[in-house]
Amino acid sequence: MEQIPILKLGKFLLVTIQVDMHDQMALRLQDELTNRIVKENAKGVLIDISALEIVDSFIGRTLANIAAMARILDAETVIVGMQPAVAITMVELGLSLPGVRTALNVERGMEILNNLLQEDSDARSPK
């Protein structure tokens, strides 16, 4: 069975979706990613969807679920690289991905995660 690789980048995990995912594959990604967040003590997840040609309601819901599960596990998720045609279609479909952060590319997504991590550690350190 085809696997979606999950790479560790410092405190973050990077997932690059390179294939047209069938539904079971999306659900398996959800399981594997939550397990890896705990195992690696990851503080953030970047999901690169630049190779995805569509995001339908099922894939959209899976991405939103991953972000919600990651948040409960103390990790933030940023979806990066969405194609413009995909964004236009998603909005017309009625999918707005509430609660999911997005960035144009991996570098910008990484900046967002680093800033969040910084804010978090500032908030936790005694004044």
Binding site: I54, S57, Q83
Partner: protein
């Protein structure tokens, strides 16, 4: 209305949903749809193929290139012999779902195409036909 080309694809497994998307993408690109319109019809087909698979216990997608006067389009028909939909109006509404999904499938697919037609009979099955013109 002329049918210039036609084919069909069984929708029995979730792999077939991926195949349906790829087939619609290829046909839409060959017909000359712009990228955004390709994306819209592929997304609509993904929603409708998933309905056939998840709710209709499998079925068939029919794909046709049609010509009406000087315009051409892609017509897709999704047919299943599943349990049917008792209340179509309710099923078309955003947020209505019997499967724990987002309930965007039918209403969302309708917004992505030019023509949308649904027929359903309880105990007999459901047929959804969509058209996108170039």
């Amino acid at each position: 209305m002329l049918v210039l080309r036609s084919d069909s694809l069984p929708l029995l497994s979730s792999d077939d949903i991926v195949k349906a998307r790829q087939m619609v993408r290829t046909w839409a690109a060959e017909l000359g749809f712009k990228l955004v319109d390709q994306t819209k019809i592929v997304t609509a087909s993904s929603e409708l193929a998933r309905n056939v698979h998840d709710h209709g216990k499998g079925g068939t997608m029919f794909i046709e290139v049609i010509e009406d006067g000087d315009r051409k389009g892609l017509r897709l028909t999704f047919q299943d012999q599943g349990p049917g939909i008792p209340d179509i109006e309710q099923a078309m509404r955003d947020g209505y779902s019997t499967s724990g999904g987002l309930g965007l499938g039918l209403g969302g697919a309708k917004r992505l195409v030019n023509e949308f037609h649904i027929e359903s009979a309880v105990g007999k099955g459901t047929t959804v036909r969509i058209v996108k013109w170039i």
